[in-house]
Amino acid sequence: MKRVVLTAIAVLLAVLFTCALPSSAAPPAPAATTPPTSPAVPTGSAPAPAPTRAPGIPATLRVGTEGVYPPFSYHDEKTNKLTGFDIEYMDALAAKLGTKVEYVETPWDAMFAALETDRFDLVANQVTYNEERAALYDLSEPYIETTGVIVVRDGDDSIKSLADLKGKRAAENLTSNWAEVAKNAGATIVGVDAMALAIDNLRQGRVDVVVNDKLAIQNYLATRPDPGVKVVAETDDTSRSVFAARKGSGYMPSINKAINELQADGTTKRIYDKYFTPKAQAPSRWDLVRDNAWPMLRQLIKVTIPLTFISFAIGLVLALLVALGRMSPNPVLSNLARFYISVIRGTPLLVQLFIIFYGLPEFGVKIDPFPAAVIALSLNVAGYAAEVIRAAIQSLPKGQWEAAETIGMNRVTTLRRIIIPQAARTAVPPLSNTLISLLKDTSLTSVILVVDLLRQAQIAAAPSLQFFTMYLMAAVYYYLACLVLSFIQSRTEVRLNRFVAS
């Protein structure tokens, strides 16, 4: 038994190491250090950072940003480069600070968890100043000020100001400042992932109102010929966007100085005008599909499929060990296995991903996104597959064990040569279910910064806000991948059924 366990652990470690390598070689977000994208940025035109680095600033500043929040932080439709007001401003700021920037793309709802667990040093994503945040984080002086706007459906006259929000339903990013504003005005908050989805919900009549950043809404309306929604009012208070770092970072004196310099030399105004003057119409749906067919397929092949298969392979080995533990005469082992299964099956995969990625760093264990995803998914698969494997093993007649015993086999050899090959036949259909679910569950890993197929679809959808089209396209890719898995399943079943009467 000992040897089997050791082999399993060795396999596990080997796989973890090999999958740790590509992910550290290729950072989780497609954007690496980006030189200023616009030739007009005055101080950033030199490729090398200024020789003198501002005090308190590290040589490379890791910056967290959404990448799906136009026009502040998104991927250019043509070049797929990370760009936007916040990005270009950050590049200019970094040039002033004499440091390099490395962007880490993170969903907004995971942004502060990632900041706290040292995934990056600074957030550049239209973080709105408020006192709660000021108490928890180092915040810079504002680099842009804007007001919120109240958006309603065309033809809805019941809302004219914040005061009318009482009892209405508002679609907002749960952790955003605008959710707070709407809630204080008495609205019920419906949580959505992105501003574009909030507007979709509004258009479709699922909610009554959206409160959001004026600049973001203006940009959205400018790219839509027939938005179906209208701005009815501005909120009273201005919202000030700031950079956020962990408490005690010591960055802010230098950053604040640079912000003032950018204001003084006109850079801020220039970048502002570039992003907040109404743009030409967004590309057509078909252009979008054509342009993103390959990038999405690439993420499917490079991330989603390897993630699925590596996690499944490790998960199966773990599942076998858990199943054996569960059947062990040793009460400690069997109860441990039982507990493991109940915890894994009794908690959401999303929470498991969060705990591995954002929870473990609290205890000094920091794991890159891809290996963290592999760990969480394998542990999850193990919990589900263990019961399948146990049932399959126990469904074999006792005579098979006895026959092996009488020819002198020990239990490990019996398992390996007699029991598992026969149990595999009954286990394959339910395990295939697990595999196919796993393929789609990998889409949850975007919350821990894995750029998988679904995340790529979000990135592609963000500039033009065509989420429906891109999600549909992602669904087609997932479906095709599942068809292939189903085909493999039926081939495997035929092979394993060769020794039973049809």
């Binding site: 005469p329 005579g399 006895e402 015993e405 002198g408 050899t413 040569r417 039973v500």
Partner: protein, 285 residues
């Protein structure tokens, strides 16, 4: 972690032989002494003692629930008796000294001892218990090659001869499900012989078969008996016992009620219980 069974030295054995092992006459090959076994409050074996001479056939008969299958399984340590001594060849196990933990857990030394005992005998099951995912030939190789480490070529050669002997040369590459019940049981017999046991144990080998298939299995067993294999057979086939057995044990309620030649036990039973049992078998209606 290795298999516990001692590995025979294949370089000195007669590679292709499928003949029974030779043993000195006069010294019993199997000796069972005061064997007792309970399942909970139910005493299945109360006090069983007997011996088996090499090259002889012992048939164990008795009503269902009398303990005969438990007795046979004890010889192969598939059941762990509570007390008593079993000796097969030069391996002696005193079950009085073996105390399984919860869920039949045994320490390593005991497991090795039992594996040695098992290596002395081959078991033929009522339900044949062939490995369903292995072909006929692979079923025969599993023990010699995987457990005992015999070279594949030599083991294959022997397996083919054994299959020839049980009349299955045409079916070596079939899977068990492709065979009839009688053929499956003959593979089961060949698999037991492939281990080169000193004694072959049969647990009601024909009870699960359709009546027209019983003959082919008994025929093979008769041939083996004639070749000089030492056999212990739990059976309800009185005609077979009469024709082939050297010794018949009649067991009831965990005790040996009568023991002797077939002529004595079946032909001229002395005990009332034996007579009643034989009458029920021969005149069921």
């Amino acid at each position: 972690m290795t298999d516990h069974t001692p590995r025979p030295d294949h370089s000195t054995t007669d590679g292709g032989s499928v003949a029974p092992p030779t043993a000195a006459r006069g010294i019993p090959l199997v000796a069972v002494d005061h064997l007792a076994k309970s399942f909970g409050a139910h005493e299945v074996l109360k006090d069983i003692s007997f011996t088996v001479e090499p090259g002889t056939v012992t048939c164990v008969i008795g009503p269902s629930g009398s303990g005969k299958t438990t007795l046979l399984r004890s010889l192969d340590a598939l059941e762990i008796p509570d007390a008593g001594v079993v000796r097969v060849g030069d391996c002696t196990v005193d079950f009085g000294e073996i105390h399984p933990g919860p869920k039949r857990r045994l320490d390593r030394r005991t497991r090795e001892l039992l594996a040695t005992l098992r290596s002395k005998s081959g078991m033929v099951f009522q339900a044949h218990n062939l490995f369903a995912h292995r072909t006929v030939l692979q079923n025969l190789l599993e023990g010699p090659v995987v457990v005992q480490g015999e070279p594949v070529a030599q083991a294959t050669e022997r397996a083919r001869r054994l299959l020839d002997e049980v009349g299955l040369s045409a079916h070596v590459d079939k899977y068990p499900f492709q065979l009839s019940g009688g053929q499956q049981q003959r593979v089961g017999i060949a698999r037991a012989l492939a281990l080169r046991p000193q004694v072959v144990l049969f647990d009601e080998p024909t009870s699960a078969l359709d009546p027209e298939l019983v003959g082919e299995v008994l025929g093979v067993m008769k041939t083996l008996a004639a070749e000089g294999w030492t056999m212990v057979v739990v059976t309800h086939e009185l005609r077979f016992a009469r024709q082939v057995a050297d010794q018949v044990l009649f067991i009831d309620e965990g005790l040996v009620v009568e023991r002797g030649t077939p002529e004595q036990v079946i032909g001229d039973p002395q005990q009332a219980r034996t007579k009643a049992f034989l009458r029920r078998i021969m005149e069921p209606i």
